[in-house]
Point group: C2
Chain length 424, copies 2
């Protein structure tokens, strides 16, 4: 650790998601200076983005100012900026615009983004759900489609199809919430289109939903989604996405008001290129067991951006608990390096995984393989997500919104948010 006369070491963290915030939290009030950089001034609670997209929550419910998280910690600064590149030789971060920031240690926590697997048109016309901007765009598309259908339904019978690609937790959660939104909006808001003329179709390449869960969970999720009016197609792949259409491997070309892309994630291109980091599986940064880049002594990578080792041969899945645990571990190791102690390897403590399907329906896979389903699973999911929301006020607001929605009160925040962005 630095002597009292030396200035404290400077740790720079790129990214204010789960991983980056966990690193900074681990360094709060320690004898280091910390700068956390993000192009957004807020932390986004990604597990609830699908709720923003389906108008169950407002953007402010799942976003929290990064400055406010660390307002109490005098050794942590926030910088609202975009990193253009990292000069590893000079240990300097270079921002868009050319300003530089020197570091003693750098943590790459830049997260992941949607993977399109080279499918033509997917990156352009399908709608991912990996940022607040994505969620707002998807919500606007969904609500605007219903408004257009309402006008058209005056003169002719209208069919509307929303397609969700991917049967993992994000796909299942989004399809369920979307089906609920459509039915609530049509009934409560007096839309002219009939509920039976709106189709929500979930398509997956796999032969079952939620492949990371046991088969009993998959069967349960399928039964619940089906009872909510979602159609599910298995073992079917997308070959092209066009404006207003989607094409499948069996030759069908379907008119779709929106294609939600929940097929998988990849580390953001930034890591391999701009940050000049050696990329491993899924574009994720290769790291040593202590989470340092394989070829660096003072650059670390955590969360979705890193190929975090699970054991000798496998890497951890890209999940919030991995991000939080790896961030916390990284902070400890930086402090160890600074005090001349040897580092320790990261160990992932599996806390289980969860997915919600609708009101009162959720599945959880416990660390030892057991499964919780139904209302109990849903309550567990609710409690856990509320617990992890960053601020007390956010928790309260989300709880209010959910309570309203649960009791089916008509005043859901079905605002077309794009309307608020354009000139009056």
């Amino acid at each position: 650790m630095a002597s009292p006369l030396e200035p404290p070491a400077h740790v720079v963290i790129i990214g204010g998601g789960f991983a980056g915030v966990a690193v900074a939290r681990g360094l709060a009030d320690q004898p280091v200076r910390v700068t956390i950089i993000d192009k957004h001034n807020f932390h986004t609670f990604l597990p609830l983005l699908y709720q923003v997209a389906t108008a169950g929550l407002e953007p402010a419910d799942v976003a929290y100012p990064i400055r406010t998280i660390f307002g109490h910690a005098n050794n942590i600064r926030f910088r609202h900026a975009t990193v253009r590149e990292v000069d590893h030789d000079r240990s300097v971060v270079i921002f868009d615009g050319g300003a530089e920031l020197a570091f003693d240690h750098l943590v790459v926590a830049t997260g992941a983004t949607a993977a399109y697997f080279g499918i033509p048109g997917a990156s352009r016309f399908a709608m991912p759900l990996y940022s607040l901007a994505d969620a707002r765009r998807l919500r606007n598309r969904l609500l605007a489609s219903l408004e257009e259908a309402d006008v058209a339904a005056e003169h002719a019978a209208i069919k509307l199809t929303f397609v969700v690609v991917g049967g993992g937790p994000t796909g299942v959660e989004t399809a369920g919430a979307l089906s609920e939104l459509v039915r609530i909006a049509i009934r409560r808001d007096g839309l002219r289109i009939r509920p039976e003329d709106v189709r929500v179709l979930l398509v997956d390449l796999a032969p079952r939903l939620l492949t990371a869960f046991p088969e009993s969970a998959s069967r349960y999720a399928l039964r619940e989604l089906t009872s909510m009016g979602v159609e599910v197609n298995f073992s079917r792949s997308v070959v092209e996405v066009e404006q207003g259409h989607i094409r499948f491997d069996d030759g069908e070309r379907l008119a779709a008001a929106a294609v939600v892309w929940a097929a998988g994630v990849t580390a953001s291109g930034t890591i391999a290129h701009e940050l000049q980091v050696s990329a491993g599986p899924g574009g994720r940064a290769r790291v040593t067991p202590d989470l340092r880049l394989v070829d660096s002594a003072n650059v670390w990578a955590v969360g979705d951006a890193a190929a975090v080792p699970q054991d000798e041969s496998t890497v951890c899945p890209q999940l919030a608990p991995v991000a939080i645990q790896s961030g916390r571990h990284c902070a400890e190791q930086i402090l160890r390096v600074l005090s001349g102690e040897p580092t320790q390897p990261f160990r992932y403590r599996n806390k289980g995984i969860m997915a919600t399907i609708g009101r009162q329906a959720a599945v959880a896979k416990l660390p030892r393989g057991g499964v919780i389903k139904g209302t109990l699973g849903w309550l567990a999911w609710l409690g856990l997500h509320l617990f992890y929301l960053v601020g007390f006020r956010n928790r309260l607001r989300v709880l209010i919104n959910w309570t309203w929605r649960y009791f089916d009160w008509p005043s859901g925040p079905r605002l077309i948010v794009a309307d608020a962005e354009t000139a009056d």
Copy 2:
């Protein structure tokens, strides 16, 4: 009124603000068909826009879906569209894109927009507060200015000036809230800029604040604003607004991080031109005492868009109570015309006016001229605004936000909302 065999008359309302919503409410469950048209799918509670601009409230707190307001009324339809023109001869509304909608009665409730009085650069570089989009833009500018100042303050002393033009209720409320925001954000969020280096300047052409109120209210508002750190300049006019600067009639050219334009309103250009309505004072539609256009039997104008008569020689001010009362009156008169009864002239019932200056400070002018100041005025202001917020949930959310803010908790929603709109 139509006989049971005739189809009911069709009333088309352009605009979902206070006035348009009041008209539709007055026609709910009456023997008419109603279509309310707005380019936004939500009603905006304009009196609280300054709170959104200064990050005290979220956009969803002051916006409410128009469909949801009328979800229970089977005779009211909402149409999410922009009106391009009105064909008075054929009694048809023409939308952007060319679709048409025939009406038996048309109500113009298109509201007002900022008046720039021909001051060079004002419409381009000053920031008005007359729509949710305006409020979001202003908030983004304010918070982004603080972030930029934080980076710059690392190397040099930084002075930041925000200018509010106009000393009416909007200007006073915005200047007060802005000064509070700056001080809270600097203290709570650990910004490097010093509070004393941020200047909030309110400029007005008049010799006192709140000219619509008695002088004792003006003195009180000035004392409160000053104690909150707002500088007030009287009898001073703006001659030009440039990017990053403002110029005054005394020759001073001041660097300004933002110029908030609260100098006055004018009816939106739409009324006089696209809707082919004869315009009176402030571009407002000239109407007869029963609120019909002077040259029409079936086109009405209400709220800020209309020169609503107060008595034989004067017109009402552009205020929310006038909009609501004139909308309600218009609905009654349309029903009278449809049942062959004579119409009645509009009478404005003065309910007084209010302005808030900060937490615990407000002034109200009572109908008979009395003034309420201080905490009592603030509580009255709070109760009245909560009462008029459209939905129960919105009221609860706003109350929670205010309670938090009042007790100065650190978790204010200081999100740079533009960040959520750009690509991740």
